[in-house]
């Protein structure tokens, strides 16, 4: 046991925990006034619910003793055997409980991420039901494949430092599936203006996400040392490069917008996530900048096509950013940073193929299962609020609350 490592993991856990309420503000600011609270509530309720499910069975499913490389078993359910002593497999210098808590915060934010696709029209009960099922049948298995001891993608040699595939590709593609089954917001097809209610909230959220991401990426070193420092520097550099790039793209188009710069920074953080502890600091600049460009044009295309109301572009930001990041990991990984990983620049072109396999499997599995779960819920409890509830806004119709009360 190492007290420095333990302190860093506990702090990182708290940092990553903050990312979910940060995401709530990031998304909350982008919706219309009448849906501000409901959008924040989605992330907040998921923080509560997944924290509990993780302790009851989630951690065991994702990280527990392996069954055929596909899933953990239930022997750590209720955290039986997960105690103050370090695990013999994961993060061997910190208490097993600390590693478990750190991983809990990743599960929470991954579930919260796709809520951006379904804001302003999903029934709150349906959202929670989908969240619980998706967590169990999509997140836990994929986390096991990539990070669990014995997981098949880990065996294959897929590199994912802090969650490019497990978190971002997974949430992004699932967001797309759920939005397709749920259908667009009223007025979306007609091109009705849907004005964001609070840009400062968006930026506050993005800034707190950036802050929390130091825990996400540098914490994923699982030790407090050189590797964590490398991940810390790549994280900040990628976010900055991507935020700046997005700002320039907006400027070329018309004006450099704050909401664009904030979005770009988040995309840069997404892109560097799988690579943070495998690549050199300079590589964070192309990883962030190219991530921004890919995501930006994906968003332009999505809004021009106007087919799927993937409302807050979770797929463009996280799906595409995560895909690029996972690929870039295969390109820029070098043993100079991490002896466990070498990519194309080390002459190991096979790593790129392995990364593609990991991305493709995650996409196919997550999209397929999400689609089926959404269809099943649509057929049983129904996914959407009533038309008049949507018109009046989800704050009042789902939660009986008003963001800004009073006459003055």
């Amino acid at each position: 046991m190492n007290s420095g490592d333990t302190a860093w993991i506990l702090i990182s856990t708290a940092l990553v925990m903050l990312m979910t309420p940060a995401l709530a503000f990031f998304y909350g600011g982008m919706v219309r006034k009448k849906n501000l609270l409901s959008t924040i509530m989605m992330s907040f309720a998921i923080l509560c619910m997944i924290s509990v499910l993780w302790v009851i069975y989630g951690y065991s499913l994702a990280f527990g003793p392996d069954i055929k490389g596909l899933t953990g078993n239930f022997s750590w359910a209720g955290l039986i055997g997960v105690g103050m002593d370090p695990s013999t497999i994961y993060a061997v210098t910190v208490p097993h409980l600390a590693f478990m808590a750190f991983q809990a915060t990743f599960a929470i934010i991954t579930v919260a991420l796709w809520t951006g696709a379904v804001v302003e029209r999903i029934k709150f009960g349906a959202l929670l039901a989908f969240a619980a099922l998706w967590f169990t049948l999509v997140y836990c298995p994929i986390a096991h494949w990539v990070w669990g001891s014995g997981g098949w993608l880990a065996q294959l040699g897929a590199l994912d430092f802090a969650g490019g595939t497990v978190v971002h590709v997974n949430a992004g593609i699932s967001a797309l599936a759920l939005a397709m089954v749920l259908g667009p917001r009223k007025g979306f097809k007609e091109g009705e203006t849907m004005e964001p209610n609070n840009i400062p909230f968006v930026v506050l959220g993005a800034a707190l996400l950036w802050f929390g991401w130091f825990g996400f990426n540098a914490g994923s070193a699982l030790t407090a040392g050189g590797l964590a420092s490398n991940a810390f520097v790549t994280t900040n550099t990628a976010a900055a490069a991507a935020g700046f790039t997005w700002m320039i793209l907006g400027w070329i188009n018309r004006r450099p917008s704050l909401v664009g710069a904030a979005t770009g920074a988040v995309v840069g953080l997404v892109a560097i996530t799988p690579a943070a502890g495998y690549v050199q600091p300079w590589a964070a600049i192309p990883i962030g900048a190219i991530g921004s460009i890919i995501s930006y044009y994906m968003m332009v295309w999505r809004s021009k096509a106007n087919k799927v109301d993937e409302s807050l572009d979770v797929f463009a930001c996280h799906g595409m950013g995560g895909t690029w990041g996972a690929l870039a990991t295969g390109i820029f990984a070098t043993t100079a940073v991490n002896p466990a990983a070498s990519g194309l620049i080390d002459g190991n072109w096979k790593q790129v193929l392995i990364q593609i396999a990991a991305i493709a499997t995650t996409m196919v599995f997550a999209f397929g299962v999400s689609w089926l779960l959404a269809k099943a819920l649509k057929a049983t409890m129904g996914l959407r609020v009533k038309e008049e509830e949507e018109a009046v806004g989800l704050d009042i119709s789902q939660h009986g609350e008003n963001a800004y009360g009073g006459v003055s």
């Binding site: 203006t193 979005t263 044009y297």
Partner: protein, 115 residues
């Protein structure tokens, strides 16, 4: 007795207020409003691309004056609020049946006459 409803550019509110008070016209009610006219809307930046906002923020000034003081007030407001570009606003004049001052229970022109 007339009511003037003047919809003007928000940045002209201070100029209009000062010009009116210089002539002793102190009373007014001011509201933030959104609306459209020949100026039409504006394109705002979204994350990638733009969205249109069809209603622009304006300020509505309401004041009630005696019949004789109405036209001078309209002239003052027009002069102070004008830039010459589309979007300067509109002034509407409505007849008013009566006015009552809450503090004194006075009614009629005496409540709205300039001192």
């Amino acid at each position: 007795m007339k009511k003037i409803e003047a919809i003007i550019r928000p940045e002209k509110l201070d100029a209009v207020k000062d010009a009116l008070s210089a002539k002793g016209m102190l009373g007014m009610t001011v509201t933030n409003v959104n609306g459209r006219g020949r100026q039409k809307g504006i394109a705002l930046q979204w994350r990638a691309g733009e969205y249109r906002v069809d209603f622009l923020p304006k300020v509505k000034i309401e004041l009630v004056l005696s019949d004789e003081e109405c036209q001078p007030a309209i002239d003052i407001i027009s002069r102070a609020a004008r830039t010459g570009r589309e979007g300067d606003g509109m002034i509407f004049v409505l007849p008013v049946e009566n006015a009552y001052r809450v503090r004194t229970s006075d009614s009629g022109d005496v409540c709205v006459t300039v001192k």
